[in-house]
């Protein structure tokens, strides 16, 4: 029983990490309507910007995290403006955009590795004694991860429902040509979307690094298809679906690790992905015409 609760606790933390990353991917996917295979590299940028801010610039971890998050948003914005946007404007089909992002992931991951090296790094976070919350037991970092995720989800919800930008993003996600016809500046909305998606990727990378403790350039990329599993389970471009998907996949991964072996825990996410594609490819919350 205690093993079950302990695993549930870890599952909640994994879900929190996954929710941050999945919402960022799903937001961009919904608005621009193509998948970004370089997303795993954005996670790596978030991890390492924060690492440098903390170890070289001696910022406290929270400030370093904010810096890493915003800097990754800027990287995503630059990548979109310089490379992806020209392709989209030229009318390149989604097919070739996928190959472009696949190539970008190779470039960016190797760039991260060239700058920060191949070895494993870790943040300087005091481990502290575990904090007991009801039946669960967490480290301070894990509680921080969950709190950040919950706050971010609330913020994303408010962004999408209460702001003009959020409404414009939802409009573009539903029907981009129509959104343009009604006078929405789709180019600036797209750029904001990439910035926010990058920030969420950075945050996902930082929390992933806090959760796994040791990380290197390809840690985020290994996690990428787990993020895809959560996004597809939730339904393409569905933000709330991505949150639900993240919780389900996070729990499945941890319980599979408990039952089978932690070497194969990510395979459980793949099994869920396959089942979803076979049984309900439109996801939990379907988007019309997007399956």
């Amino acid at each position: 029983m205690s093993l079950f609760l302990l695993t549930l606790g870890f599952g909640i933390v994994t879900s929190a990490v996954l929710a941050l990353a999945a919402v960022g991917l799903s937001l961009q996917f919904g608005v621009t309507n193509y998948v970004n295979f370089a997303y795993g590299a954005f996670l790596a940028f978030g991890m390492f910007f924060t690492y440098t801010a903390q170890s070289a610039l001696h910022m406290p971890i929270v400030l370093a995290g904010v810096f890493g998050t915003l800097a990754t948003g800027v990287v995503a914005l630059v990548v979109d403006t310089l490379i992806l946007e020209p392709f989209v404007r030229r009318g390149t089909s989604g097919f070739f955009l996928l190959i472009v992002t696949f190539g970008l992931s190779l470039i960016l991951l190797n760039l991260v590795q060239a700058i920060w090296g191949v070895g494993f790094d870790q943040y300087n976070v005091a481990a502290g004694s575990p904090i007991t919350l009801g039946p669960f037991s967490f480290t301070a970092a894990q509680i921080g991860v969950v709190a950040v995720a919950v706050l971010t989800m609330v913020a994303v919800h408010l962004l999408l429902t209460r702001t003009t930008l959020g409404r414009a993003m939802r409009a573009m996600s539903d029907n981009a040509p129509l959104a343009r016809a009604t006078g929405i500046d789709t180019r600036s909305v797209t750029r904001w979307t990439w910035f926010i998606s990058g920030c969420l990727a950075g945050l996902g990378g930082i929390t992933l690094a806090l959760n796994t403790v040791e990380f290197q350039a390809f840690t985020g990329n290994t996690f990428l298809f787990v993020i895809f599993a959560a996004v597809i389970l939730g339904g393409i471009g569905q933000i709330y679906g991505a949150m639900i998907g993240a919780v389900i996949i996070g729990l499945v991964v941890n319980f599979a690790g408990m039952v089978i072996s932690s070497a194969y825990d990510l395979d459980a996410a793949f099994a869920v992905l396959v089942l979803v594609l076979l049984l309900r490819p439109q996801g939990i919350i379907p988007t019309l015409g997007k399956a």
């Binding site: 020209p86 470039i107 076979l278």
Partner: protein
């Protein structure tokens, strides 16, 4: 002299092997439009299966563990490797080739590749985990008793013959009714379906044939290197094959050959012999990977059709019956001239 000859022959073998990979991906992506982002996984499956089929039973106490160990002759091992890669492609196709958006297909192939990588790496009893197989017997090496350099030349010939057969088969498929159905599906799946093509079956055929090709390339790889470990088939290796096809020209086997030469040989293999930069042992491979990614993006921007463009079929190229072309030209003169 001997050293240079051996070096050139080695590059030649890699050139032929990458040709076969690129033909396989060309059948999947270039002909049919299937985004297979895990090409190299099928190379690994083909190579490993041929390896364990031709290796002897595992030796107790040698710390090398693997399944089978059948000591089969090399032609049988080649067939086993190719068939295993094809079967793996079939299983992946069952999941990925359902009528879903192409992004899903790409995601599933990428995820499946990462799973297979993890399983083969972690399951030590399968193909010796991350250590990988070593000492795989080379075809006829025990019989011919050649010096290493002469054997490399012999292997170059063997790989060349297999590559030529693959090229011939790929060209025949391109010109066959099956190949036309594949290209129709690439251009528009719904239209092909409306004309009564069994799109799932055609796409699955392309997937399996492509994987068999890549598997054959994998068998040649493990024969030539005599070893195979997961470090040799990461995602960046998949991208080298993609880069070869995109840069050379997709949908076009000559383009696949040109691309293999430019990317896989000139760029990828030749730069492996550059000395490492002191203090940064992996910097050269990182720069190489960045350049290959950049090369693909620049090609897609400046010359999306690749170095050798696919020759597009003309409208009246295939007359339905004798004289149909002349009649059509007479009745609709505008169409016959603007067909291209």
């Amino acid at each position: 002299m001997g050293v240079i000859l051996g070096y050139v022959a080695t590059l030649g073998v890699y050139f032929f092997i990458y040709n076969i990979f690129a033909f396989g991906l060309n059948i999947q992506f270039g002909y049919t439009g299937i985004l297979d982002f895990t090409v190299i996984t099928f190379m690994a499956i083909g190579g490993y299966m041929a390896g364990v089929a031709s290796l002897g039973p595992e030796q107790p106490g040698s710390d090398i563990y693997y399944v089978l160990g059948l000591s089969l002759p090399w032609p049988v091992a080649l067939v086993i490797g190719a068939a295993a890669a094809g079967a793996a492609g079939y299983v992946l196709g069952l999941i990925a080739l359902r009528r879903l958006r192409s992004d899903y297909l790409a995601i599933v192939t990428l995820a499946a590749g990462s799973i297979v990588y993890g399983v083969i790496g972690n399951a030590n009893g399968l193909f010796d985990g991350f250590e990988g197989l070593v000492g795989v017997p080379q075809p006829l090496n025990g019989v011919l008793k050649l010096s290493p350099n002469s054997y490399t030349l012999f292997f170059l010939g063997l790989a060349g013959v297999i590559m030529a057969i693959c090229w011939f088969v790929a060209e025949r498929i391109y010109r066959s009714p099956l190949g036309r159905a594949m290209r129709a599906i690439r251009e528009d799946l719904d239209v092909a379906e409306a004309y009564g093509k069994r799109t799932f079956r055609v796409r699955m055929t392309a997937m399996v044939i492509g994987c068999v090709f890549v598997g054959i390339g994998g068998v040649l790889t493990i024969w030539f290197v005599t070893a195979l470990a997961p470090a040799g088939w990461g995602t960046s290796e998949t991208f080298v094959v993609w880069a070869a096809l995109i840069v050379g020209g997709r949908g076009n086997n000559l383009g696949a050959v040109v691309g293999s030469f430019l990317v896989a040989v000139l760029f990828n293999e030749a730069t492996r012999f550059l000395p490492a930069i002191p203090g940064h042992p992996s910097l050269i491979s990182e720069i190489r990977n960045m350049c290959i990614g950049g090369l693909v993006i620049l090609t897609l921007w400046f010359r999306p059709q690749g170095a050798v463009a696919e020759r597009k079929a003309r409208f009246f190229e295939i007359p339905l019956r004798p004289g149909a072309l002349d009649e059509a030209a007479k009745s609709v003169p505008a169409m016959a001239t603007s067909g291209s």
